[in-house]
Symmetry: C2
Subunit: 594 residues, 2 copies
């Protein structure tokens, strides 16, 4: 059913349906390998902050140089009390504490540095805003900076990190890498299931820590420091990623009534997690709201500066789940809808990730019904002046393809392909009706790239789930999507959505295009702001607590809204006046399918 006669003839088989009865060599076809350029892994452009950074006021992690009077028979004060006395006198640091690791190095460090040292002191944490301060490290000599910290976003697919000087507040570099957990499951649910198997949790924990350590190593090398010079790490990520990072069993996230072990974990030490920065560095996980509205969303709301503007705002992060927050900062309400992985290219016959060879945008000529497409280029081929042949279609390509098929009348509002237009690309394929996007002779694998009725239905269900989420959120607070002042779209996927097409297929509400803002990785930005500013750190804690979470599976109106959205753009075309206008225009120009 999923494989073509061609594939079968070529010896392809579905691994999940095949019984291996003897020795077998399994070849993973190249299109399944991850080859996407990680466009985010390069030195960051200067990151601007919404405040003028003042480490004394904003930064809990401080570097305090101090010259200490050595002990004598007349003053036999112990090393620890002596250091505390000087830090109190010079900086007003009282009630200093230290862990055993630090105390074990204390005597040797003080004497080795001849009693002139620089204390790395964490003045407070979000859960102890009044301190007590903690001595994290003691460096020889009088040091003024830099002092390193890291802001991290752990995505299900990608882990991104900023390396930041906590003295100047400047981002020194940005790095990103695929989350090594991918090899144990592409999405959250498969990871949760894997975690519940024998030792799976420990393995997933160590995989993501491996990725983090790789990023730390790479960033440190780039900047010319040791990873052990990093004293703080602030982490955003969805609730499942946070559980896996901390080694908390995530099962209850998947099972009704869908609760986490903890939404706002306490700060932990890097050594407790195996993160290879300074062993006593603080790893501060940002707060989530619920199982499916995690710290990535809370950090995203913060990073988007949603609250810095008045007016009704919708914040949206599209991935496997559509997670969204609606509000105006007097109130915030959130939900997550299980959109499925269609927008990530999964569950679609020729769907693929946004890597080399993916069709990322499609235009269809409304007269000839012939498509034009843009492929994510292979730098090697480009260098030789050659075009990159397509291998499949990624999420943004699917959105524009679906919208174009609809607007040109090649599919109707229910997603049925129109055979009456005389378009040779619309045909009956092995999986039912399909549209041929690229002929075999254009493609990398020498087979047609098609978009089937099954694919169309999957995508419509995905967009309907997300739109229904908007709908239910708005309705639950008695407002209307038309009244939105802004739509903020976070997440790397969001960056590639074409607003016009998104509106045309009914994924995005029909608003003026200038109301849409693509913000990139807002979760990472949120992590950065909270790493640098204790006021932002307090804000996110309060905000995550304040965001109301609407559980859609317990909400009857969701199913109704979903069903209404299972059409292009929607059962109620009046909600999409701009689309109605375009359709009317096309109707006038072209023969209609129906």
């Amino acid at each position: 059913m999923r494989l073509s006669a061609e594939d079968l003839a070529a010896g392809y088989a579905l691994a999940c349906q095949t019984l291996v009865v003897g020795d077998a060599v399994v070849t993973v076809p190249p299109q399944e390998k991850i080859e996407r350029r990680l466009v985010t892994d390069r030195t960051a452009a200067k990151v601007t902050l919404p405040f003028t950074y003042d480490p004394e006021r904003h930064q809990p992690m401080r570097l305090l140089p101090v010259r200490i009077d050595p002990p004598s028979l007349a003053d036999q004060t112990d090393d620890w009390a002596r250091l505390k006395r000087h830090l109190a006198a010079n900086y007003g640091v009282f009630h200093l504490e230290a862990g055993l690791g630090m105390l074990r190095r204390l005597s040797t460090t003080l004497r080795g540095a001849d009693w002139t040292v620089s204390a790395v002191v964490e003045m407070d944490t979000w859960n102890h805003p009044e301190g007590p301060p903690r001595l994290v490290d003691l460096l020889p000599g009088e040091q003024r900076g830099p002092l390193w910290g890291a802001a991290l976003d752990i995505g299900t697919t990608t882990v991104s990190m900023y390396l930041v000087d906590l003295v100047s507040g400047e981002v020194a570099t940005r790095v990103a890498e695929y989350n090594a957990q991918i090899r144990r499951g592409e999405d959250i649910i498969s990871r949760i299931i894997y975690a519940s198997k024998n030792n799976g949790l420990a393995e997933l924990q160590s995989l993501v820590v491996g990725t983090i350590n790789e990023l730390v190593e790479r960033a440190a090398r780039r900047v010319g420091i040791q990873p052990s010079h990093i004293y703080k790490m602030t982490v955003a990520g969805n609730s499942t990623m946070m559980h896996l990072l901390l080694g908390l069993p995530p099962e209850s996230i998947r099972l009704e009534p869908f609760v986490t072990t903890i939404n706002h974990p306490p700060p932990v030490r890097a050594a407790e997690l195996g993160i290879a920065i300074h062993p006593e560095a603080t790893v501060d996980c940002l707060p989530g709201v619920s199982s499916y509205v995690g710290a990535d969303i809370a950090a995203g709301v913060l990073g988007s500066q949603m609250c810095d503007f008045s007016g009704l705002t919708l914040f949206l992060d599209v991935g496997t789940n559509g997670e969204m927050v609606l509000g105006d900062c007097d109130w915030l309400i959130s939900c997550a809808c299980s959109a499925g992985p269609a927008f990530e290219g999964a569950g679609v016959l020729h769907g693929m990730r946004a890597t080399v060879g993916a069709i990322e945008e499609v235009w269809i000529n409304s007269d000839t019904y012939e498509p034009t497409y843009r492929v994510i280029p292979d730098p090697k081929l480009e260098a030789q002046g050659k075009r990159t042949p397509p291998r499949g279609i990624c999420g943004s390509g699917l959105i524009s393809l679906l919208a174009e098929l609809f607007i040109t009348g090649l599919i109707d509002k229910a997603g049925n392909l129109c055979f009456d237009l005389g378009c040779r690309r619309v045909r009956q394929g092995e999986h039912g009706p399909e549209y041929v996007v690229a002929w075999a002779d254009e493609t990398e694998h020498g087979r047609d790239i098609v978009f089937t009725k099954v694919d169309i239905d999957n995508l419509i269900r995905a967009k309907a789930a997300i739109y229904a989420g908007f709908e239910v959120l708005a309705r639950s607070v008695g407002t209307d999507l038309e009244l939105l002042d802004r739509v903020l779209i976070g997440g790397s996927f969001g960056q590639y959505i074409n607003v016009e097409k998104g509106i045309q297929l009914g994924l995005l509400p029909d608003l003026a295009w200038d109301k849409f803002h693509f913000l990139g990785n807002t979760a990472l930005r949120g992590a950065l702001l909270t790493l640098l500013n204790r006021e932002y750190r307090q804000n996110i804690a309060q905000m995550a607590h304040r965001i109301t979470y609407l559980e859609l599976s317990a909400d009857n109106s969701f199913y109704e809204a979903f069903t209404s959205a299972l059409f292009l753009p929607h059962t109620d075309l009046a909600r999409f006046p701009s689309v109605a206008e375009v359709l009317a225009q096309h109707k006038k120009n072209n023969t209609q399918c129906q």
Copy 2:
């Protein structure tokens, strides 16, 4: 010089002076082996407390049973917030915290116990008297007790422990064992030196932890529990023992100006030290005053209840160092004098530890000069109705022997043996003048047990150092030893001192005998009181901070006082009127040596 012709003939050699040039078999003679019965390792008599124990008022470690409403779609509160909510509502426990280990077990424990659990909560610690409370463990079901804790005294020689129910406040058992560090040095100084060698600190740390784990295992077996059921351990010990337990380098204790890394270490987790009780149990090390007045002394002062009485009190703990505290609880002043190990039987030709075969008390007939002695019996021989032959002389035996020799006139006030009395036991031996305590045919090894002039001088120096300490302490606060209302003697050695003899040789001040109180292991008792009562724990912290420490090596008057005390009982006989009277009595009855 140290070996007799007899020994040499028998093939004895000093290991420290012998060059091994080929294969060699080294035989450790049995008298060097430790065979002392640890009289303290048996089920404790009921320990009485100076307060009526009320866990709710006194005990920071609590057992709180709670039935929790399970989560539902209508209440998706995360597990942690849910537990906190119930503990706040039922017990007024706010701002609860937990470590990563506890959070990792949370979800499974709650569901496995069907949401009825008992929380082990540490409400506060000495350094955080207002909390926040910490969830240490979560047990399934509604449990009311017992809840186990341990009070520990880590001596240089012996480690002693009480296993205590923190709900009833009752001591379930007492265990004791030699400190396994002994194999790396008998006294503090040799351990510090060993610690500074390659990996020596880690080895000593692991040796004492091994001893603690053995005690924990033994006590737990006796009471029928698992070691992991122990949630708190309060530890007394001298500053070096504390450094070695925590893995802090102790070098600076030994080197001028003699300072510790930390006098009052913060509470740590059992797992950080490798102590095999509950990994998140608190190990609370009591505070010391200085390098040589450690937590054993602070705990001793507390355990002796020195402050519960008015009047001038001297608290004394005799070991290798004589450590003492003088005060009346409005003020406390302390010092430590390096008495050397003579009172422990070291540096004395036939000296030995207080084990089987040791002469522990001696009486000398003032007419015949013949001694009578009591030997620490060998239970096996006793069972056969046989007397245990002596092998050497232990500390208490040395004290009574020296006093008897002096009172009977066999030695003069400078410690010179008197050859004019016609006593056949006084003779010129290989090491100079000596007194024969036991003839070869009475002894276990078939050689005479003698007490030499060299031994006498060593003992006089040791007692002089201790008495000079008393003297300097009293003088420094402008008081006089005659004005003492009480002398409290702690430590296991103290239990065996005969007050009369101690006064006669000028080790103890000349006071009415009923002013002396032998309290046994006051350090262990202090650990018990602070384990059970947070008020006592605060008291000891304040007290250790308040005790003035007098550094004798920086005090000129000490050397003067020491020199004056290098006579029996003292240069100034007027300080010892009772001894003067006894001497006058003997002068009347006997021929005097001088």
